[in-house]
């Protein structure tokens, strides 16, 4: 099983390659779980293996770093020969929490913290420090989280929900938002001051005006516009003004 766990962990790194609007990451989940199903009674040609793999391919969504919890737990209950309905219920029950916990902890917590640290390092230290600081901090947590998820999923089996309520996860969820807000709040003036260091007073007012209009648009006028399209519009206006 140890070899299967390593294979499954490695496969989880490609989990989202087959993301699609039909089954979301269902195929990726099956691809990740498959090495853990190989030693089911009957082997890879056996009926239980094929039935378990077929169940694993159905629609599923969740945070990619925590998907090991689902892969491990689903493989475990297949080994324990739980009834099909119970396996399906576990699968359905896991999708929501895996998504919300992972999104809150990683996308809205760890990622903005690493991003803020990287930006401040780029401004105050060097580009090399920015790259190393960001990647080391982020991936130290990232890879541990993936490994913990798979291990906990396999060991938890049907009781995997208890692992999601672990003290460390609760702490992570409590700290994620405030830490992200604190670090990004710190980085914004540092980065802003650095980016406008070559601008004179009039140009500073122009940049401030665009930033203000952008925030008003994003918050109240046109929330679905998005920063990318607002940026493209601002660039188009700047080009026109410059040429005229």
């Amino acid at each position: 099983m140890k070899q299967g766990m390593v294979r499954s962990w490695l496969r989880s790194l490609l989990l989202q390659a087959s993301w699609n609007y039909e089954r979301m990451i269902g195929i990726g989940l099956a691809f990740t779980t498959e090495p853990l199903l190989r030693d089911l009674p009957g082997g890879v040609e056996g009926e239980r293996y094929r039935a378990a793999l077929a169940r694993a391919t159905q629609q599923f969504n969740g945070h990619p770093y925590l998907i090991g919890l689902a892969a491990g737990a689903l493989a475990r209950v297949e080994h324990e020969a739980l009834p099909e309905e119970q396996v399906k219920r576990l699968r359905t029950a896991l999708a929501g929490p895996l998504g919300s916990v992972g999104d809150k902890m990683v996308w809205a917590g760890l990622l903005p913290v690493a991003s803020a640290l990287g930006m401040v390092l780029a401004v105050w230290v060097s580009p090399t420090a920015a790259v190393l600081g960001f990647l080391v901090l982020y991936n130290a947590v990232h890879f541990v989280l993936r490994g913990w998820a798979l291990y906990s999923g396999w060991n938890g089996g049907l009781r995997v929900g208890q692992r999601l309520g672990a003290r460390l996860i609760k702490l992570g969820l409590r700290l994620a938002g405030p830490l992200a807000a604190l670090t990004v709040g710190f980085a914004l003036p540092v980065v802003g001051a650095w980016l406008v260091r070559h601008l004179d007073a009039q140009e500073l007012v122009g940049a401030g005006l665009i930033a203000g209009v952008g925030v008003v648009f994003a918050r109240w006028v046109w929330p679905t516009l998005g920063g990318n399209r607002f940026g493209l519009a601002a660039v188009a206006v700047a080009l026109l003004l410059g040429w005229l």
Binding site: A17, L135, V184
Partner: protein, 222 residues
């Protein structure tokens, strides 16, 4: 740019794959993608500068569920290629402009890849629903291949846009300054909006204000 074209293409593929399909180590973040592209081109500072601006834009993105978002990583690679070759200190604006456009194309291309992946799943539904490991691995690897092609094509188009912009777009000093102002202003707006999403709750808002105060102190005394 031409002498490093191959390395930029290779870096673009790695960055494109890292965004969703493989590893997700965050080399696809614009700060990393832009800075490393700058290193490849011999000017990491210009790469980091456009990377920082596009990173502000990327703070707004929450890649949850099936949400659609621009590919700022590939945008940053092409932004760095533009900024490094633009004359003087005014490459940031034109670089970010190219980066935003390439990010937009990259985002649209992700959607196309996902639609194709869905078609692949439909075509192999019978094998998948009978537990064929060959079908599972096949769909997974073909999907990965599609993303490689997406990253290659978007990087190639992006570098073409960068080269065309540098060669043919009439960018005077005044236009460069205007572009710089627009890019930085819009970037800060996106960054603040992104934080707005994170700090939706009152308690997080107070942490944001505390961080802001600390950052301002750092700017004044740093």
């Amino acid at each position: 740019m031409m002498e490093n074209f191959g390395w930029l293409m290779l870096w673009g593929v790695l960055v494109g794959l890292d965004l969703v399909s493989a590893l997700q180590t965050m080399i696809a973040r614009p700060l990393i993608a832009g800075t490393v592209a700058g290193f490849i081109l011999g000017d990491p500072v210009s790469g980091a500068t456009v990377g920082v601006v596009l990173e502000l834009f990327a703070l707004e993105v929450l890649p949850v569920g099936g949400s659609r978002y621009p590919d700022y990583g590939l945008g940053a690679v092409c932004a760095a290629a533009t900024a490094v070759h633009a004359p003087g200190v005014f490459g940031t604006g034109i670089g970010v402009a190219v980066g935003l456009f390439v990010a937009y194309i990259g985002g649209k291309a992700i959607y196309l890849v996902r639609v194709e992946n869905a078609a692949d799943v439909r075509a192999h539904r019978k094998q998948l629903d009978t537990g064929s490991s060959t079908a599972v691995t096949g769909v997974q690897l073909r999907s990965l291949g599609r993303d490689v092609v997406r990253a290659l094509v978007v990087t190639w188009i992006g570098l073409l846009i960068a080269a065309a912009t540098l060669r043919w777009l009439p960018v005077t000093l005044e236009v460069s300054v205007y572009l710089g102002i627009a890019a930085v202003g819009a970037g800060v707006a996106a960054g603040v909006s992104g934080v707005g999403r994170l700090t939706g709750r009152k308690s997080a808002l107070s942490w944001f204000v505390l961080g802001l105060a600390g950052g301002l102190v750092g700017v004044v005394f740093g």
